[in-house]
């Protein structure tokens, strides 16, 4: 393996380029129209345009990606996460074109991509699953049959798309009378989002924590599970903050849940990197939720507490190397790591996306900080993709110090031109419930509801005064924009001020 095409964009493409460079491999970027100036294009060794900005015309075009691989002479493809990373047709197309797909087999992606099939695989491995239907609801099942099935599972329950992901095609049902309409809505949403209307039913656990286990598996039978990540801080089923290890996982639970994860992976002959997500209930019982057959967004925190490079291992596994990682090391965290997903969203306006030009950007740095980003000053945050601009991760000796370090990093993170979720994280990380680890997957939606649109960071009076002072000075000193009711001494005054006052 000498040259890797990266079938992705943004920070994860940059992450993979870095791994390639450290391994002395050439990297090939692909880009859509609006990504021509993106950082991954600037950092890669080669770059190929693959079409218009809309993902279905570029980053989701299997034909163009395979063609770019052929033109560049790449011998392998890394899919990153998102886009085609969990698309078995893409994995198969790569292999069909003689390219090494840096990920699991198409067959493993297909099996674990069906939530019901994945639940079956977990059960066969002896791993508990959330109570629910074993198979998708029949397309011709009557309302009465569905209601009876639901009754046997118990309420509240979730209607979930078999092909689901990212909280789509999912409905909570508390009252049995809402069941039929929820099934209908979920089916239609699933059909639109995934091209597959199949849904199934699953009991909704009351206040679960989201605990997941990263795995690596080679082509020689080795499967290594890693210390768990906790991703319970979610907004509408989307992860927002992740950390490792979990404050809620005892050594005994860690041993159990990581063994369970490895058993599931072994059962399906899984290879490369993957993550098994579990729900853990208030009594510490865990249930298989689903498997992600790819690198996770939040992989850096696992790298920080274990010192292992997951992307480099993906590449090494794909080229046939043996996974000679000490299993105890993978399970033993050194210190504590937290990741905040910095999004171009306005937290004080219902987290609406805030695309636009980043006019100034100085990410946090210094001890214990890792910033994985595809953003630089001067770049636009495009409207076509996930608006994540940076994954800010902090490592420290223990959880309180990691939180303190992350707060420090957020305080020095400088960005202008777009709104970001930085102020929201500043607020969240100062909540006593967060510090105490008192949260579950319902926590954030609950506090957001309680916040009811109030700003997360209400500027203190002093801060508002400073903003007023800064705005006045900025306006007074800007040549291009004389104030409407300007100064008495006119233009020369301003020039002098610029020359002398501003050093």
């Amino acid at each position: 393996m000498k040259k890797i095409l990266i079938a992705n964009r943004g920070e994860i493409a940059v992450r993979i380029i870095r791994a390639c460079r450290e391994m002395d491999l050439s990297s090939v970027a692909v880009y859509s129209e609006c990504d021509r100036s993106a950082l991954h294009v600037r950092l890669a060794d080669e770059a190929y345009a693959i079409g218009p900005s809309a993902p279905r015309e570029s980053y989701l075009r299997i034909d163009r990606l395979v063609d770019a691989a052929r033109r560049s002479g790449a011998d392998a493809v890394h899919p990153g996460y998102g886009f085609l990373a969990e698309n078995e047709d893409f994995a198969a197309a790569c292999v069909g074109a003689g390219l090494t797909f840096i990920g699991p087999t198409a067959r493993a992606i297909e099996t674990m991509g069906s939530k019901t099939a994945a639940r079956g695989a977990a059960k066969r491995a002896g791993v508990p699953v959330v109570p629910g239907t074993e198979d998708p609801l029949g397309a011709d099942a009557t309302s009465e049959e569905i209601a009876a099935t639901a009754q046997s599972i118990g309420y509240p329950l979730l209607v979930k798309a078999v092909a689901g992901g990212g909280g789509k095609g999912m409905r909570t049902v508390v009252d049995p009378s809402d069941l039929a309409s929820a099934v209908g809505a979920a089916r239609s949403e699933a059909a639109t989002a995934f091209g597959d209307p199949a849904v199934y039913l699953e009991r909704e656990l009351p206040r679960p924590r989201h605990i997941e286990v990263q795995l690596l598996a080679d082509h020689h039978g080795a499967v290594v599970p890693f210390v768990e990540r906790e991703c319970s801080i979610q907004r509408r089923h989307q992860k927002v903050v992740e950390e490792t290890p979990s404050i809620a996982v005892t050594p005994a639970l860690r041993a159990e849940i990581t063994s369970a994860a490895a058993a599931v992976a072994k059962g399906v002959g899984y290879t490369n990197a993957g993550t098994i997500e579990f729900l853990v209930d208030e009594n510490g019982r865990f249930y298989f939720l689903e498997m992600n057959t790819r690198l996770q967004v939040e992989h850096p925190i696992t790298e920080m507490v274990t010192g292992l490079d997951l992307v480099q291992w993906q590449i090494r596994i794909a080229r046939g190397e043996r996974l000679d990682v000490d299993p105890a090391r993978a399970l033993t965290p050194t210190g504590h790591a937290i990741e905040c997903r910095v999004y171009a969203e306005d937290p004080d306006n219902n987290f609406l996306p805030s695309p636009g030009r980043i006019v100034a950007l100085r990410p946090a740095a210094g001890p214990g900080i890792r910033d994985d980003s595809g953003a630089t000053a001067g770049l636009d945050v495009p409207i076509f993709y996930d608006p994540m601009i940076s994954k800010l991760a902090a490592w420290a000796e223990d959880r309180p110090r990691a939180i303190a370090r992350m707060r420090r990093a957020l305080a020095e993170y400088l960005v202008a031109g777009i709104r970001t979720t930085v102020p929201f994280f500043t607020w969240l990380l100062s909540q006593p419930d967060f510090s105490a680890g008192r949260f579950d997957t319902t926590y954030l939606d609950g506090v957001l509801k309680a916040q009811n649109g109030r700003p997360f960071v209400e500027p203190a009076a002093g801060v508002e005064e400073m903003a007023a002072i800064a705005a006045a000075l900025h306006t007074a000193l800007s040549p291009a924009r004389p104030p409407a009711n300007g100064g008495s001494t006119g233009g020369r005054w301003k020039t002098e001020a610029r020359l002398e006052g501003l050093r």
Binding site: G82, G166, R236, Q238, N350, F351, L352, P353, P355, G356, V359, A360, I383, F384, Y385, D386, P387, L410, A411, Y413, L414, V415, A416, G417, R419, V422, P423, T426, N452, G453, V457, P459, V463, E464, E465, M466, A467, A468, I469, A470, A471, A472, L473, H474, T475, A476, L477, P483, A484, N485, G486, G487, S488, W493, E496, A497, E500, G501, L502, R503
Partner: protein, 177 residues
């Protein structure tokens, strides 16, 4: 000396700026602070501000601030970042036109698409009564479903959003009266 009317946090403050040697005397309402200003780049200032002790008993504290200043295209305001806190500021009446519309006050609220996207759900019908912060329309954009909410109590006077339709940024979706 230059005078500004600066609206911040719902209040309008009178600000006067005068040079004093190589610093600036900035009078905010009736209090004057002395600011040393360094421009870092087009959008960043470093301020070192003498903050007087109220009783005058001790020397002034020289507080350091790094601030970013960038216009908010949506509202015409300046967003001043003081540390991690973004503060919306309107200088001399450059007020929040679109944000104003969105956030209620007087007159009808004209709710527009903040970004190009696809209408995935319309949650109200024309004529429906709505409450402030009630979700009206869900737009999918940037891989997320985004709820657009009512800024005030009222009735749905106009409804231009249709499920499944693609819309451009700025497209009028709902008028609440």
């Amino acid at each position: 000396m230059q005078h500004f009317e600066i609206e911040v946090g719902g209040r309008t403050r009178r600000v006067a700026v005068a040079r004093t040697g190589d610093k600036f005397a900035v009078t905010l309402d009736d209090r004057t602070v002395h600011a040393d200003v360094a421009r870092i780049d087009a959008h960043t200032l470093s301020l070192v501000v003498d903050t007087e002790c109220p009783t005058g008993a001790t020397d002034p504290v020289r507080a350091a601030f790094e601030v970013t200043i960038a216009p908010d295209a949506a509202t015409g305001q300046l967003i001043v970042g003081v540390g991690p806190t973004p503060v919306a500021v309107a200088v001399n009446g450059r007020r929040a036109r679109r944000r104003d519309e969105a956030s209620g006050g007087n007159g009808p609220q004209r709710l527009s698409a903040p970004m190009p996207g696809k209408i995935v759900r319309v949650l109200v019908k024309s004529g429906d009564p709505v409450r402030a912060r009630q979700p009206l329309v869900v737009v999918e954009a940037m891989k997320m479903e985004n709820e657009l909410r009512a800024g005030r109590d009222g009735l749905v006077a106009e409804l231009h959003a249709r499920e499944g339709e693609s819309v451009d940024a700025g497209a009028l979706l709902v008028v609440v009266q």
